[in-house]
Symmetry: C2
Subunit: 242 residues, 2 copies
Amino acid sequence: MPRTRDLQHPCGECAFYDKSVWQPVQSGSISVLARRFTRNDLAEGQALYDQGTESMGVFCVSKGLIALRTLHADGKSTLLKLAYPGDVIGIRSFLTNSLHKTEARALLPSRVCTVAHRDANRVIHGNPSVLTRLATRCISEIDSCHERIIATATTSNKQRLSDLLHGLMAAHGTRAGNHMCMHLPLSRSDLADLIGVQAETMSRLLKRLQDDGTFLVSGRHVQAPVASLTQDMTGHRQSGNA
Amino acid sequence: MPRTRDLQHPCGECAFYDKSVWQPVQSGSISVLARRFTRNDLAEGQALYDQGTESMGVFCVSKGLIALRTLHADGKSTLLKLAYPGDVIGIRSFLTNSLHKTEARALLPSRVCTVAHRDANRVIHGNPSVLTRLATRCISEIDSCHERIIATATTSNKQRLSDLLHGLMAAHGTRAGNHMCMHLPLSRSDLADLIGVQAETMSRLLKRLQDDGTFLVSGRHVQAPVASLTQDMTGHRQSGNA
DNA sequence: CGCTCAATTGAGACCTCTCAAGACACGTGG
DNA sequence: CCACGTGTCTTGAGAGGTCTCAATTGAGCG
C-alpha cells in the first residue's frame, strides 16, 4: 500500500478508499480515472438518475443518503433500498448495459462520485480485479435482500420497525444526554415500504412503539432512550406483542 | 462461434452452453476446465452443500431442482430460492471466500456440474469476462429479489400464490387434454416460505384457489384448466378478493 | 397395526387493509 | 397577518386476513 498512490487516486481522499471498487487500479488506469472522475452534489429530493433512462456509469455515494425506488404503472412507488456513503449504485444497468429499473433520488443533501460508462469499462479492462469488487458489492446486495426476506418471515412488523429505527438512529442520530435523537430522513410512506405495510399501518405501528416507550416520535423527530438501543429481543414473532 | 470449441468445452453438450458462465474461456483454459470439471448426481433430498461449510467451488444446475434454504437458530428454515437448470449457485461463498450462508438441497433428482474453487479462479484469471458473466448472474438474483419485494408490497397473498403455481406449472407441468397438471416439487411449508405466510395459511390459500376454480390441488398433485393460465389479472391488491 | 411426519381444519385473538374524514405543517397569494 | 391551498400524517370504523395453538386427518412405512 504505497502512500503515494493514495494521493493520486481520485478516491484517495475518500473515507472509503480502501473499500472503493476503484481502489485496486494500476497506475496506468489511475490517470483515466482521475481525468474523467466527476463529483456531483445533489440537493434533497434531486434525482441522480431516473427509472427507464440509460446508464451513465457507475456511481459511488460519498455523502448523504440516496433512495432507490421503483415507480409502478399506477403512479405509486416502492422504496427498495437506501444507499449510504460508500455504497455503489447503478451497477445493474452498467454491467448489463440496460436501462435503469429504479430511480435514485437524494433523501438528504448528498454527494455522488461518478465514473462514466466508457471509463469504467476501460478501467475494468485494465484491471479485472475491479470486477471482483463490483461483484462483491452485488453479493452484499443479495445478502441484504435475503436478510430482508428472512426478517419478514421471522419477525413481526412492529419488531422490524423497531430494528429499522434503531438502524437509522445509529446512522443519523446524535446523543443528547441519556437519549438519542434524529431527524428522520424518510417519510412515513417510505418507512412503510421498508417494512412492507401500508402508510396508515405505519402510523399505528409508530404509535404502538411510543406506547411501549421504545421511541418518541413527532413528525420527523425521533427520540429513543439510550437504554433501549441495546435490548429489544422481545416480540420477535409475527403478531409479536401483548 | 467455432463448432469445434463447443465439443471440447465441458459445457458443450449442455443446453445452456451459450449462457454458461464458463462459455467465454480461451482454449488454454478449456483444458483446465475439462480436466477438473465434475458432474454430480443428487438424489431427491440430498444436500449439495450445507450451511456453514466452506465453498467447494462454483456449481451449475444441469438437471432437476435445487432449493436454497437458510436454517435458523430455532431449528426452522426458510426457503429463499429455487435453482433451475442453467442457474449457477454457490457464487456467494466462492467470490467472497466465505462460508455458505444457505444450504443447497435437491428437491428432485438432479445433476449439478462443479468447477472446483482453485480451477474456477484459474479460469477467471485466464479470462476475466467470466467474471462479468458471474456478476450478471448476481444481478439477475438481485432483480428477482426486488421483484419479490415489489410483489409482496403490491399483490395479495392469494394472487402471489396463484402466480407461483402458474410458474411452477410452466416449469413442471404437462398438458393433458384441456388442462395442465404437475407433481408439486415443494412441500406446503416451502410454498409458504415463497409467499411469506405460515403453513396453515398456505393450506387455506390453496383451498380458496380451489373454490375459485383456478386450481385443483390434492396433496402434491395440482391441476389447472388451460384457460386459467393466461388470465388472472384480478385480485391483485393486498386483501385481494371478495 | 401403530408410528411419524405432513397437511388440514377449527376457534379466537390479533393485525392489517381499505376507505374516509380530520389534523397538521407549510407555502402562496391576497 | 390571515385565508387557503396542498400534501403529509393521523385517526376512526368495519371488513377481512393472518397468526397461533391445538386437534384431527391423511399418507408412507416398518
